[in-house]
């Protein structure tokens, strides 16, 4: 009898756990436990219960996630989560894209479970991460000091880089520009000296897919365009909050950009050409310089090979500013407003935090980054390496990962080895070039407002930003002169409550980061 019991217990455990995890050390529950999840994110409005990653996580931990995503017919993530909150019927886990503001606003009202104590007691791997990165723990906390979600933590430092047509430089006998003056000369040469050799003066020396990205070039005159990877964001200088668009470096930079625009160095249609401008201007052999993502931009070297004769679009170091500083203002933010949270209706809070912790274990991290071992990748010399089918599958590797349920916006810690494996050679060289130089600046990681601060911010900020952007475009387009308008502009910002906003930002910042 006893023997039989043992045997059947053994059979059961092998049925639940695959061979690799037969010891069951990652098991959270003895009996399978089902938890419902809301997961609204850009690639899919919902959580697929048949993701191979989900099946593997289910076998390892015993926890099953059941899709209960609200707002599947909208692509607007805010709307989806607001809809969910308005119905009042929250699933056990609320996850997905851009949940930070919602959980930090409604967490203190009681909609979500504070995680600090749970992490302390039940999630050793998450705790280890936050012990090493206390600034991230501060940055994701709400105004009451509690954490309400486990974020998606991107890996890798660089996002965007300056790109130039090396073959155009070669054709004109020029070198890569090392400072802002040389940069100007190169753009003028691109405009005037017919680098594409078609006899027409049709080159567009500088272009951007997003017009906001143009403002980034004010860093060449020691201005700033944003304090984070979000456009128009605040920044911190010596512990003091400021908005870049209210600083004098911005004024000087904008004055020069307006001049460049008037001289035809910048795409005249920069405000309306839209997201396809990079495709169009590169494939038509018209665009010279841009500031854009490493991986996707260097990809044009392969895709336009043969279409555009001699096409060679390479990353180059940010030109030194007027004061000699090389600055790459854009970098990947160390955490995203995406991830997952535990809602107040969840009856298995401890199991849930343990499940969250699973994705910070070595096995869980590999699973959430690369998919199921043996299917999409193998461990070779201690490194996870994608199979040939994945790397040469004809579909982008990230898309393949989304399909198996890896790299989706649960709370997980990204592993840069994932992206490096399919980054084009040109981009890898660029990243190494940028890495070898000290280009990055500290980012503003955001603040969490209490209700009163939120009200001041909401009432004033959208209007102020609207005004800032109106003036910004007008100055570039030449319907105003920034040098002449500046004092009025600053006075108008004051009238609209700029200082009130800065005051509440500063108060929230000091509380959150303990200054």
């Amino acid at each position: 009898m006893r023997k039989m019991k043992l045997a059947s217990a053994f059979l059961m455990s092998t049925a639940i756990a695959p061979a690799a995890h037969a010891d069951g050390h990652l098991q959270i529950v003895d009996e399978p436990l089902e938890l419902t999840i809301h997961m609204h994110w850009p690639r899919a409005q919902g959580y697929n219960e048949e993701y191979p990653v989900e099946l593997a996580a289910r076998e390892m931990t015993g926890i099953h996630l059941i899709d209960a995503t609200s707002g599947k017919n909208t692509t607007d993530h805010n709307e989806a989560i607001n809809l969910l909150l308005a119905t009042g019927d929250l699933p056990d886990i609320v996850g997905g894209h851009r949940i930070k503001d919602a959980v930090n606003q409604y967490g203190p009202e009681g909609a979500f479970v504070p995680l600090n104590d749970l992490i302390e007691e039940h999630a050793p791997h998450i705790k280890a991460f936050f012990d090493e990165n206390p600034d991230i723990a501060q940055a994701i906390s709400s105004w009451d000091g509690n954490m309400y979600y486990i974020p998606y933590l991107p890996d890798g430092k660089f996002g965007r880089a300056y790109f130039i047509r090396q073959d155009w430089l070669d054709a004109l006998g020029l070198e890569q520009p090392q400072n802002v003056d040389e940069f100007y000369d190169v753009l003028v040469a691109f405009r005037d000296n017919d680098p594409n050799g078609n006899g027409l003066k049709d080159e567009i020396p500088l272009f951007q897919r997003q017009w906001e990205e143009l403002i980034r070039y004010v860093t060449l005159w020691d201005g700033r365009s944003s304090g984070s990877d979000t456009y128009h964001d605040f920044m911190v200088v010596d512990g003091q909050l400021q908005h870049p668009y209210a600083t004098e470096g911005y004024r000087d930079g904008m004055a020069h950009l307006a001049k460049w625009y008037a001289e035809g160095l910048i795409d005249p249609e920069i405000f309306t050409r839209g997201s396809s401008s990079r495709d169009y201007l590169l494939s038509e052999n018209l665009g010279g310089v841009t500031h854009d993502w490493f991986a996707s931009t260097s990809g044009y070297n392969a895709s336009l090979e043969g279409t555009v004769e001699g096409f060679n679009f390479v990353p180059f170091l940010p030109p030194a500013s007027v004061s000699g500083v090389r600055m790459e203002e854009h970098r990947r933010i160390p955490f995203k407003p995406d991830g997952w949270a535990i809602s107040h209706t969840n009856e298995n809070v401890i199991e849930t935090i343990k499940y969250f912790d699973f994705f910070f274990t070595e096995e869980g991290r590999l699973l959430s980054n690369f998919g199921v071992e043996g299917d999409t990748w193998n461990m070779i010399d201690g490194q996870p390496v994608y199979t040939d089918e994945v790397l040469n599958g004809g579909i982008a590797v990230n898309t393949q990962m989304y399909e198996v349920g890896a790299q989706i916006q649960r709370g997980y810690w990204q592993d840069y080895r994932y992206e490096w494996q399919w980054t084009a050679e040109a981009a890898r060289e660029g990243i190494e070039l940028y890495d070898a130089n000290d280009l990055l600046i500290d980012q503003f990681l955001g603040v969490a407002f209490n209700e009163d601060e939120q009200r001041v911010y909401d009432r004033n900020w959208t209007q102020i930003q609207t005004y800032m952007l109106e003036r910004q475009q007008a100055w570039i387009l030449g319907t105003g002169d920034i040098e002449a308008d500046w004092d009025d502009y600053v006075a108008q910002l004051d009238r609209m409550g700029y200082n009130d906003v800065i005051e509440v930002m500063q108060a929230a910042y000091d509380r959150q980061y303990g200054n």
Partner: protein, 308 residues
Amino acid sequence: MEHRTTRLNRIADHLRANWQIYVLLAPTIIWFIVFLYRPMYGLQIAFKDYSVFRGIDGSPWIGFEHFHTLFGSDQFIRALKNTVIISMLTLLFGFPMPIILALMFNEVLNQTYKKTVQTVVYLPHFISTVIISGIVITAFSPSSGVVNTVLDWFGFDKIYFLTKPEWFRPIFIGSGIWQEAGFSSIVFLAAIAGVNPSLYESAVVDGASRWQMMWKITIPSIMPTIIIMLIIRIGNLLEVGFEMIILLYQPATYQTADVVNTYIYRQGLQVGQYDLAAAAGLFNAVVAFVLVMTANTISKRYSRTSLW
């Protein structure tokens, strides 16, 4: 007492006799209740500090604070002004167009030609706003747009239309007319088809010209339709088609392009201030109600045509 029972009986008899008609009416009434009357309960958030999680009932009252915020804002006032200007111009230029089109179709004798032109002018109505905006952006592009190419032929300077505040309204209203004038003319064509042919026959006998027949017979006959359509349009005066504006405007053109609905979208919905958005929407509805009442009363008094 007895009087009341007989009246109830009469209603019951009436219902029994005409129940099919009431069944046909039911879906519309249910639709109105579910989608228009029930949501009115939520209008109260315009006077509350609304939290999605606390819900409509759980959020505290704050009186008219949102309205103070709105009317204290230069940008809201500007949006209101733009809304009125764009609506008025649309009414002025957009409202007569379908009538003129209908009258013109009515005069065309060649049926093939008529059908072809009608199809061509109806077509834009069925194209989605996103595509229409794409066509407009392309047509007005400074480098490759057809408008600037033509300007260039005649020796004019190229204009970056969509960043010029002074060009926004003509472009928006013009493309709106292009999109909707044809389809809107159907109502007037139907009204023209309903004019008694004997009126025209006797006019021909009296030796009237086609021009005289149009002015003396066709237009007076369809006047009730025109007035009803006008009243409806006035009620929707503040409902500027904001999807199109969002797709076409830029911070550079906010000055003339920002209307109440785009303001609500930016200030209220994009940042999740539903209470403020509800306050602005409620204000819109009240103004529309007043406008429609006024138009209806004036029309009733002077032309004896009215919605109710």
